[in-house]
């Protein structure tokens, strides 16, 4: 390599010039950092590990289901696998995912601040996450738990074998990580916006993070007390959920779902925010209906607290309460639909570029819509009697969580990767991975809608032979999906060492984060920025030349 090329390589290397990455290279400087960007990286590595652990459990589940009697031949093992998959994916991947990685990194940049309001609490939240995760993983691997991620009493309190108390303790601890992050975000957004950044000049991603944080802060404590009561009952063999002393097992479900339904909005709202960033950037056009989209984020967060009973239609809940929850569940779908229409309005007559982030975002729109609509089928009382606890439910929430949220996470990762790492990833491979993921996803989960409709129950390790074709299709799709997930792991890592250096604004997007170098300095901004325009001030199409 010539001397000039070597010099260029060094300049392009993020470690060759001042940036948050070069600011201290010891392990201590990473493990004791209070820089939100470094904490985001710590989290990113952690949740990637959890994603592949939860994904491995899923792979074994799908492997088991390719023959009717179950390849693993053991119902207990299967039960432990789906519990492991659910617990890891919900609490250690989806709930943190975008907020703690992309959110931690981008939020202060987007509002023009030097850091979050409470940087040390931010670091504490990572350590709480790791501690909770370690406890949970130990419980899951040292014998496992077979209750499902929902831990219903009296199975979890009385009859289950396995490390239930240890597992719920791990989840309890990680819940405080969630609360700490949410608290930090809310206070930061209220208090640390740059001069000129009014609420209506904030990017939608921040409205989404704010809404997510409200849910994190208000719902997670109820999970904490629920798990505490569960642990009490399991340890002492008596408690408020015990029908033998007049307690109510349904009380567990009420308390659990009071958290867990809003939790699904914790999981999806950041994804909605990410898509609201990517679509305008790659259409070169202002977001359609900004105020509607902003307030819909808040509406989803608030109304999401009113609908939890729709998980309990056939559990013994009163018909009157079921009717109320069903109606409220229809209301909560409206703000999500409004967002979808606003994205379509943004795309309309835009100058659309099909880079990898955009492919993920477009896939999101289709898959999220399908997931959302099928949720409405389930919210209808009469239909739910037939569909509850079948693969229809499994397909519904995977369309939203995997088709939607995981796509959005990958989209966000690809969109902000140049900013975070200072590197460009190979474009064509990235687009191929996105398309492969869309294909693999649909092959995996569409057959599950049919399976559910035909009556295949969920959480069963074996099934009647007439369902085998659909199961085999689903498992084949899962294999393709696995490849599509592994591809970014390889080429993004490759880009860290061999990728071209990234400019400050590789996508020509609007937003304060793109005004900083890639990767940014530790202090983010040398001079506090002053904001004078809205977040999507793209030139109106037809009035000036869009950048190619």
């Amino acid at each position: 390599m010539s001397q000039t090329a070597a010099l260029n390589e060094r300049i392009a290397s993020p470690l060759g010039r001042p940036s948050y990455l070069a600011d201290g290279v010891t392990l201590k400087s990473w493990l004791l950092t209070t820089d939100h960007k470094r904490i985001a990286i710590l989290y990113m590595i952690s949740i990637t590990v959890f994603f592949f652990l939860g994904g491995s459990a899923a792979a074994l589940i799908r492997y088991n289901l390719i023959v009717p009697e179950g390849m693993l031949r053991s119902a207990e093992t299967y039960d432990r696998l789906f519990t492991m998959h659910g617990v890891i994916m919900v609490w250690f991947f989806l709930v943190p995912a975008v907020p703690v990685t992309i959110g931690n990194f981008v939020l202060p940049l987007m509002i023009g601040a030097h850091d979050l309001a409470f940087p040390k609490i931010n670091l504490l939240s990572w350590y709480l996450f790791i501690a909770g995760g370690a406890l949970a993983l130990y419980a899951l691997f040292a014998g496992g738990v077979d209750t499902g991620w929902t831990f219903y009493a009296p199975l979890s309190t009385d009859y289950a074998e396995g490390n239930v108390v240890l597992l719920v303790t791990g989840i309890f601890v990680s819940g405080f990580s969630s609360i700490a992050t949410g608290l930090n975000f809310i206070v930061t957004i209220h208090r640390l916006r740059a001069p000129g950044m009014t609420w209506y000049r904030m990017p939608i991603f921040l409205w989404s993070l704010y809404s997510t944080s409200v849910i994190m802060v208000l719902a997670t404590p109820v999970l904490a007390i629920t798990l505490l009561l569960l642990a009490f009952e399991r340890i002492f063999h008596v408690g408020v959920f015990d029908p033998r002393i007049g307690g109510d097992p349904l009380l567990f479900q009420h308390m659990f779902w009071f958290y867990s339904h809003p939790a699904v909005y914790i999981m999806i709202l950041p994804g909605l925010g990410v898509v609201s960033e990517i679509i305008p950037a790659f259409s070169g056009k202002e977001l359609f209906g900004y105020k509607f989209v902003a307030w819909c984020s808040i509406a989803i967060a608030v109304i999401g607290f009113f609908v939890w009973g729709h998980h309990m239609f056939v559990a013994g809940q009163s018909l009157y309460a079921s009717v109320v929850f069903s109606m409220l569940s229809y209301f909560v779908a409206v703000p999500s639909a409004i967002k979808v229409f606003n994205w379509l309005g943004t795309l309309h007559k835009g100058y659309i570029r099909f880079d990898a982030p955009m492919l993920y975002a477009l896939g999101f729109i289709g898959l999220f819509t399908m997931g959302g609509l099928t949720g409405l089928f389930l919210a209808a009382l009469a239909a739910d009697v037939h569909l509850h606890d079948t693969y229809f439910v499994v397909a519904h929430f995977h369309y939203i969580m995997v088709g939607g949220m995981v796509s959005a996470y990958f989209g966000a990762l690809h969109y902000w990767w140049p900013k975070i790492s200072g590197r460009i990833y190979p474009d064509m491979i990235a687009r191929a991975a996105a398309l492969l993921m869309f294909l693999g996803f649909n092959l995996t989960f569409f057959p599950q809608f049919i399976l559910g409709y035909l009556g295949m129950p969920r959480r069963y390790h074996s099934y009647p032979p007439e369902f085998q074709v659909l199961h085999v299709l689903s498992s084949a799709g899962a294999t393709i999906l696995a490849v599509a997930y592994l591809m970014p792991l390889f080429y993004l890592t490759w880009s860290l060492f061999r990728g071209a250096g990234a400019p400050a604004n590789p996508w020509d997007a609007k937003g304060l984060e793109w005004q900083t170098p890639s990767p940014p300095f530790t202090a983010n901004f040398a001079v506090t920025p002053v904001v004078t325009e809205g977040p999507y001030a793209y030139p109106t199409p037809g009035t000036s030349q869009p950048h190619v």
Binding site: P108, A113, H114, D115, L116, A117, F118, P119, I179, L183, I186, V187, H190, R191, L192, V217, L218, A219, T220, P221, V222, A224, I225, T226, L228, L229, F232, E233, F236, H237, V238, G239, V240, R244, I245, G246, G247, D248, L251, H254, M255, F258, A523
Partner: protein, 216 residues
């Protein structure tokens, strides 16, 4: 004056007042999470009592009323004392603040000692909901529900009290080192918020534990 304030202002804040108000907002938000934590427990109380009202109340009659009532009066007083301490440092009197902190911590410690004694009484009377139980027959079920709630609620509250006492003692120590002044005393206010909240929780728990099933 500015040298007193400037060292405390962290780099992401515009000025000291901005930082102080942010810290107070942060504590209030944290207290909101605590309220929902205890709120879930309240729901468990309401629902449990709904299903087994007479036996739940029978369980409630076994609580040690005098200890609970004295503890209520103690906590109310401690909130008053700490607020007085906060007022003192706002008037630039760190010594009064330190005294108030010691008194507050002392009251808190007395609360805990009475609580431990009360638990001792409860356990020796076989009121722990698991195992051999004081009440029998039709009254036993709901009473066990009550006493489950009792131990979880008072245990959780005691844990929060312990943390609160630690924080108040920390404030006293910092004040002795001259960290606070009329110009800057944000941690004093923030700890006061937490302490008053723990007081509030006891105010709500008191009738639910000691007055339910009592009287007419």
């Amino acid at each position: 004056m500015s040298e007193e304030i400037a060292p405390h202002v962290h780099f992401q804040y515009a000025n000291a007042r901005h930082q102080a108000e942010t810290a107070i907002s942060g504590m209030w938000l944290f207290l909101a999470t605590e309220a929902l934590l205890f709120g879930g427990l309240l729901l468990a109380w309401v629902v449990s009592r709904h299903w087994q009202q007479s036996s739940f109340d029978a369980g409630g009659r076994e609580t040690v009323l005098w200890i609970g009532t004295i503890n209520l009066a103690l906590l109310i007083t401690s909130s008053f004392v700490y607020s007085t301490g906060l007022g003192s440092i706002e008037g630039g009197q760190p010594r009064r603040l330190i005294q108030c902190c010691w008194i507050t911590a002392g009251i808190g410690l007395l609360f805990l000692l009475l609580k431990f004694y009360e638990w001792h009484i409860d356990l020796s009377e076989h009121l722990f909901p698991a195992g051999p139980f004081k009440l029998h027959g039709a009254e036993a079920g709901g009473a066990r529900l009550f006493w489950t709630f009792y131990f979880v609620a008072t245990g959780l509250h005691a844990a929060h009290m312990t943390a609160g006492i630690g924080l108040v003692l920390w404030v006293a120590r910092q004040a002795r080192r001259g960290a606070y002044s009329a110009a800057w005393h944000t941690p004093v206010e923030v700890v006061g918020l937490y302490w008053s909240f723990v007081d509030m929780v006891w105010i709500v728990l008191y009738p639910m534990i000691y007055l339910v099933g009592r009287g007419a």
